[in-house]
């Protein structure tokens, strides 16, 4: 096993972010429960936030932090509206399966 570096390379953080983003995409595509799909979107937003903070460290600027702050705010607004939509869908159709909500398909 190679010795651990004294400072963590920037690439490690970006690779972790890529892993988390890929997991989010995977969940978004594979899962069928509408709430889990929504949580996968949140995971992708978190991965992008990590990239913002990492680049902010790399460039020694504060702007990445501001951007990830805005991403958090938008995610909060999105969660409120999205969960309200999920509630309405469930009230009308009594299901949470995304494959059964397909009125626009045909």
């Amino acid at each position: 096993m190679p010795p651990l570096p004294t400072s963590v390379p920037i690439a490690w953080y970006l690779t972790l972010s890529a892993i988390l983003f890929s997991l989010g995409v995977l969940g978004f595509i594979l899962r069928r429960n509408i709430i889990t799909v929504f949580m996968s979107i949140e995971l992708m937003l978190n991965a992008v936030n990590l990239t913002f903070i990492t680049f902010s460290y790399m460039l020694k600027r504060v702007d990445g932090h501001i951007f990830s702050f805005f991403v958090m705010v938008v995610a909060a607004a999105e969660a409120a509206v999205g969960l309200a939509i999920i509630l309405t869908v469930f009230k009308n159709r009594q299901t949470l399966e995304i494959d059964e909500v397909s009125s626009l398909k045909n």
Binding site: L4, P5, T6, S7, V8, P9, I10, A11, Y13, L14, T15, L16, A18, I19, L20, S22, L23, L30, R31, N33, I35, T36, F38, M39, S40, E42, L43, N46, N49, L50, I53, T54, S56, Y57, K60, R61, V62, D63, H65, I66, F69, F70, M72, V73, V74, A75, A76, A77, E78, A79, A80, V81, L83, A84, I85, I86, L87, T88, N92, L96
Partner: protein, 166 residues
């Protein structure tokens, strides 16, 4: 020490992320997502973002995930049925994902400077003071626009969750 801390929290984040994708029950997925967010907050601290780390814990793993868990409980969501994975997805999806991931990490390794890594306390320009200064001078207009966005989101959520909608 920094590398050990990074590896520990990165491992927690990745394991919780995988758990979130493979768990069948939504409540297990939600709790795994809380684990990912807490681990990411620790990583933000390592990167010198104290304010963002606190906001991550309060807003994400506090407010947003409580909302998720609340809705899951309210709808009494059970375990989902098995996903239908078509053959081309099974035989091409995983290799393509690996290839995509390999290319991405290769590009990242090549693009970022290998000399200056992340050390704890190496960047002190993103405390609450600096973020506040930047937020209320350079980013004042986006900040105000965001407040309007939140107002619209509140109204939308109230309208959508009304009783008589059909």
């Amino acid at each position: 020490m920094d590398a050990i801390l990074f590896l520990v929290f990165a491992a927690i984040a990745v394991i919780c992320g995988i758990n979130m994708v493979v768990q069948k029950h939504p409540i297990a997925s939600a709790l795994s997502l809380v684990g990912v967010m807490a681990a990411l907050a620790a990583l933000y601290l390592l990167l010198g973002g104290e304010f963002i780390a606190a906001a991550q814990l309060v807003v994400y793993s506090g407010a947003i995930m409580v909302l998720f868990v609340f809705v899951i409980m309210l709808l009494n969501a059970g375990a989902e049925k098995k996903s239908i994975i078509r053959p081309w997805g099974k035989y091409f999806g995983a290799p393509l994902l690996l290839v995509f991931f390999g290319i991405m990490s290769f590009v990242v390794q090549r693009m970022t400077p290998a000399s200056d890594g992340v050390t704890f306390g190496g960047f002190r320009g993103a405390g609450p003071r600096e973020i506040g200064q930047s937020l209320f001078t350079v980013y004042l207009l986006p900040f105000e626009v965001t407040s309007i966005l939140i107002l619209i989101a509140i109204l939308g959520a109230i309208v959508l969750a009304r009783k008589e909608i059909d």
